[in-house]
């Protein structure tokens, strides 16, 4: 066991954070941190990719299915409805799914890191 000199934390406002980081900079702690970063990045890329695919599918669908863009729902052409309003629920749903999963990933990380 080596002795270290105890000094004031670099920033007086964040002493809790500094001590937490000290604990997590151990080799084992870093394994958990790296795995958390990988999981969160994979999640973000999957959600972004899925959303972009849907975004791309909308104009393709309008272009490839003849008459679809002009067909009307409640007097409004479908093409306008889809691009003018239909995309927003998809954005909201993607965001909600992401937040739910990202929060769960963080909770799992916290359990692991505190069990040590």
């Amino acid at each position: 066991m080596t002795r270290v000199r105890v000094t004031a934390p670099q920033s007086a406002a964040r002493p809790v954070l500094e001590s937490r980081e000290a604990a997590e900079e151990s080799d084992v702690g870093q394994v958990f941190v790296r795995s958390l970063i990988r999981t969160q990045l994979r999640l973000a890329v999957v959600v972004a990719g899925g959303f972009l695919l849907i975004l791309l599918a909308f104009p393709l669908m309008l272009g490839l299915v003849p008459g679809l863009a002009e067909s009307k729902i409640a007097g409004i052409p479908f093409g306008w409805l889809l691009l003018g309003a239909g995309i927003y629920p998809v954005i909201g749903l993607s965001a909600w799914l992401y937040i739910r999963t990202a929060t769960r990933n963080e909770a799992r990380y916290r359990d692991l890191a505190e069990d040590r």
Binding site: Q30, V33, Q40, F51, G84, G92, A95, W96, A102
Partner: protein, 492 residues
């Protein structure tokens, strides 16, 4: 339009802004208050404020004008503006908040442990901010000219004066209240008149909606390259906007930063339904505005045209008030974040320095606005997004997610992106005042599709070549960025 309507609407918005601003002055006392409202702003307030700050002249006037001009192609603007926030949520929101930095230059300095990176980032932030303020001032000039008949410069100067007064007086704390108020004002200002218009039209028997598909001008539709490049600019540009990112430091922790972004997405989705409705109505009832090159004034003129008399005047006053709320809120948000950067890097970070920096940040773009012609509002803001996506965005994304980024790589990438995209913007501006994109090659008119990948590529390659420059603080910083804050109950 009755000139009194325009002047009264502007005066009312300015007074409301100033009153809320001065009320906030009593709560802000320290440097911390001025910069980030002491990080105690609640998600709903914060989300409304982000919405208020983000919905600029381009969203309030430009989107409807563009839909009037180019139909469903114009719909990609509001989609991109909203989806940009999804990208911000996925890749930036929580880590950026957890970094604990005040501004984007703070973030890059902490992450890469380098003063040089900080200076380059500051430069990029200042350029983006100034470029973004110019279209707001053009929008104000247009609104004053159309609604009151006064000379254009009155509008730009009036906006700069009101912004300087509120920012110098209250800092960020009062700005949060002002911005939140202005989101709801903008939403009301678009929603109430369009509901009245719909009721009146329903009473008269509406012409077929199919007319919305007829093109009012002879302009060719934009091709797939333009739409894709625009989407790249908007999706990646939003997550580098300095006035949006500075808002994330006002969340208490990473979790609430995410919650705030979700609320923002909801607020934006609701808002953009209305400019779209104006654009569609404009295609049916005001195609002459597109033919006479005044499409950006569509939102301002439509209520008065379709509903006459005092009711029409009242509704016009409401949209004019909303338009000024848009110019004021975006400009003041940008001025606050620019002043934060300039005062910290050049003037030593005191409250006095912040005030001086705010004056500088607001008056320089005024000069640019006088020197340049007004392009289509939505288009010129789209180009600012392209610049942000080519400079700040790669540094942020790679800084947050890639351990291999070095200071040399970040600087090389930002300079490459800035020079390529800036060059394309300047070349585009010089190749003719018409600047409608018709005479310009597409890759120059909409550069994001190649400048953004170029910036990323240079940043990665140079970082690979300078592996020995990876900062020694890397482990500590990455841990702080990505691990959740401890809940208060279990703090040790």
């Amino acid at each position: 339009m009755n000139p009194v309507v325009g002047i009264a609407a502007f005066a009312a918005v300015s007074v409301a802004t100033a009153v809320i601003g001065f009320y906030g002055l009593r709560i802000s006392r320290t440097t911390g208050d001025f910069y980030v409202a002491s990080r105690t702003v609640r998600p709903w307030w914060n989300a409304s404020a982000i919405g208020g700050e983000y919905l600029s002249a381009a969203s309030f006037l430009g989107v409807a004008g563009l839909i009037l001009l180019s139909g469903t192609d114009g719909l990609w603007f509001p989609i991109g503006y909203t989806a940009g926030y999804l990208m911000l949520l996925l890749f930036v929101a929580a880590p950026l908040r957890r970094s604990g930095a005040y501004t984007i230059p703070d973030f890059t300095e902490v992450r890469l442990d380098s003063r040089a990176v900080r200076r380059v980032t500051s430069l990029a932030v200042v350029v983006v901010g100034w470029l973004y303020i110019v279209p707001q001032l053009h929008g104000a000039a247009l609104t004053i000219r159309i609604t009151t008949g006064l000379p254009s410069w009155v509008g730009s100067v009036a906006v700069v004066i009101v912004v300087c007064l509120t920012v110098v007086a209250g800092g960020m704390r009062s700005i949060t209240f002002v911005q939140a108020f202005q989101y709801w004002l903008k939403l009301t200002a678009l929603a109430v008149p369009i509901v009245f218009i719909a009721l009146v039209l329903a009473g008269n028997g509406t012409p077929a909606m199919a007319e919305a598909n007829t093109n009012p001008t002879g302009l060719a539709p934009t091709g797939p390259y333009q739409n894709i490049s625009l989407l790249v600019a908007l999706l990646f540009g939003t997550l580098g906007l300095p006035h949006v990112l500075v808002r994330f430091y006002t969340n208490p922790d990473g979790q609430s930063a995410r919650r705030t972004t979700l609320i923002v997405l909801g607020l934006l989705s609701v808002f953009y339904l209305f400019p779209t409705a104006y654009g569609v109505a404009g295609r049916m009832f005001a195609p002459d505005l597109a033919q006479s090159g005044r499409s950006d004034a569509l939102v301002l003129l439509l209520p008065g045209r379709l509903i006459g008399g005092p009711a029409g005047d009242m509704l016009s006053a409401l949209v004019v008030a909303g338009a000024f709320a848009a110019f004021l809120s975006t400009t003041s948000g940008l001025v606050v974040s620019l002043a934060g950067v300039i005062s910290q890097d050049v003037l030593g970070g005191s409250v006095r320095g912040f005030r001086l920096a705010a004056l500088i940040s607001a008056t320089v773009p005024l000069g640019f606005a006088f020197m340049t012609d007004s392009l289509a509002l939505a288009g010129s803001v789209g180009l600012v997004f392209a610049f942000t996506a080519s400079t700040i965005c790669p540094a942020l994304l790679l800084g947050i997610w890639w351990r291999g980024l070095t200071d040399a790589g970040a600087i090389a990438g930002m300079v490459t992106g800035g020079v390529l995209c800036g060059g394309a913007l300047v070349a585009g501006a010089l190749s003719g005042p018409a600047a409608s994109g018709a005479a310009m090659p597409q890759w120059l008119a909409q550069p994001a599709a190649w400048t953004v990948p170029a910036a990323f590529a240079v940043m990665i390659l140079v970082s690979r070549a300078t592996k020995d420059r990876v900062p020694r603080t890397l482990t500590k910083v990455m841990t702080r960025l990505h691990t959740p804050e401890r809940p208060l109950a279990t703090e040790r």
